[in-house]
């Protein structure tokens, strides 16, 4: 055997080894971490129950249903319903974690809660290229650590490709950058014969229509330098409810802005779900440094604590739209904001609709979550 054949064999072996190691790591991202069925969960089904076109695809995802006993016993006492979308963008972890805490802790007194923790299931299976994002983040609980996926903003290109040069939103004709074709929050109300992302949007729209969902809450995070942050974005018909909710939150010393859903920004939940269904759509944003452009080292610690010296510097230079200091914005605070918003939305709704109440218990308050941490509210995995 010639010398260069020996070196070729060595390099080929090394390449195969690297491919196996990298492949195992990437494949591990397709394994969904367990979510414990909480005491209030009455049914777990799949989104394909409302749109069979998703069955067997990477876009099909779990829907957790929490119904009060009154719904089962007396339809007239059914109360209102709320749909929570966590994980529309899996690189915005407070939305997903809020959905997990709801599933594992909430119990309905009246009404029905639908929770989709991984709204874009495919986007949980990869990271955004060139971002250096961690694949997972770990939260300590009394019964050990639990690890959760940190995913991408968009559907995995393995599941949906190629991206067009220009993405044209179907129902409005609005033009966007080609990669936005894989952004779940640009595809509503969706199409049954569209791309995978549009099919997921269509499935969620069908759920809202068929179940007559009263309120839809889409949980997000934004870079601290993004203007719409620490905010609630509401469709015009949900503005009354959102206004009362914002006042309620501010009375708890939780500062939050109220933003109207822009008429010319199409494909988003807070616009299209309000235009195409009877639900009251609201989107909430919390500040997440790990997805920002000004961040330094991107790792699990940044995801969990939000502590980043570059953002402190940017705040001092007046470049941010949210307060930012050495304490950062930890995940507890961001999840606490989302959960407080959801609880206040239900409270405001019930105050004005006593014949169709929406009441639940079991969730930690904002202060409790800051004091005890998220781990205290995560159930042990069997």
């Amino acid at each position: 055997m010639k010398k260069h054949h020996i070196t070729a064999a060595i390099f080929l072996f090394l390449a195969l080894g690297a491919a196996v190691v990298a492949g195992s790591s990437f494949l591990s991202m397709r394994k969904a971490e367990p979510i414990v069925r909480g005491p209030g969960v009455t049914e777990i089904t799949m989104l394909s129950s409302w749109f069979p076109g998703l069955k067997g695809t990477a876009g099909d995802t779990e829907v957790y249903i929490l119904k009060s006993k009154r719904v089962s016993e007396d339809k007239a006492q059914a109360g209102a319903s709320m749909l929570i979308l966590g994980g529309t963008h899996p690189n915005e972890p407070s939305g997903f974690m809020s959905a997990v805490l709801l599933i594992e802790n909430a119990q309905m007194n009246t009404g029905t809660l639908y929770v989709i923790p991984r709204a874009n299931n495919s986007a949980f299976t990869h990271n955004d290229p060139q971002e250096g994002s961690p694949q997972h983040y770990t939260i300590k609980t009394a019964s050990g650590s639990r690890s959760f996926r940190y995913g991408s903003r968009a559907t995995n290109p393995i599941h949906q490709w190629p991206d067009p040069d220009v993405y044209i939103h179907d129902s409005s004709g609005q033009s966007l950058s080609g990669n936005e074709t894989r952004n779940l929050n640009r595809g509503y109300p969706g199409r049954p014969d569209g791309t995978l992302t549009e099919k997921i949007c269509y499935g969620i729209t069908e759920l809202i229509k068929k179940e007559k969902v009263t309120i839809t809450v889409d949980l997000h995070e934004a870079s601290p330098e993004y203007p719409v942050n620490m905010a609630m974005v509401a469709h015009p018909k949900a503005m009354g409810l959102a206004s009362e909710t914002v006042i309620g939150l501010e009375m708890q010393d939780i500062l939050i802005r109220l933003e109207p859903s822009p008429v010319n920004l199409r494909g988003l939940t807070h616009r299209e779900l309000g235009d195409f269904t009877d639900t009251l759509p609201i989107l909430m944003e919390t500040p997440n440094a790990s997805q920002g452009r000004l961040r330094g080292r991107t790792n699990e610690a940044l995801v969990l604590t939000g502590i980043d010296p570059w953002y402190v510097k940017a705040q001092k230079l007046g470049r941010l739209y949210v307060p930012y200091d050495e304490k950062g914005h930890p995940l507890e605070e961001r999840v606490g904001r989302h959960l407080a918003g959801i609880a206040e939305l239900a409270f405001s709704w019930t105050l004005n609709n006593t014949d169709r109440p929406l009441e639940f218990t079991g969730l930690p308050s904002f202060a409790e979550l800051q004091a005890s941490g998220i781990g205290a509210w995560l159930k042990p995995v069997d």
């Binding site: 070196t7 070729a8 080929l12 090394l14 390449a15 195969l16 491919a19 990298a22 492949g23 494949l27």
Partner: protein, 49 residues
């Protein structure tokens, strides 16, 4: 589906050429370069990443 098949066929051909380059090249630096090219091509061929 047809487009995916064509894409993967082209990919397999490029992968084959890269491996061929790795085996026949006499310069270790070129062999190392070819080996590095092989890794992402393999991951994409098996639709892993």
């Amino acid at each position: 589906m047809l487009m995916t098949f064509i894409y993967l066929t082209i990919l397999a051909a490029v992968l084959g050429l890269s491996v061929w380059c790795l085996i026949t090249s006499k310069k270790p630096s070129l062999q190392a370069t070819a080996a590095m090219v092989v890794v992402p091509l393999l991951l994409r061929l098996f639709l892993i990443n």
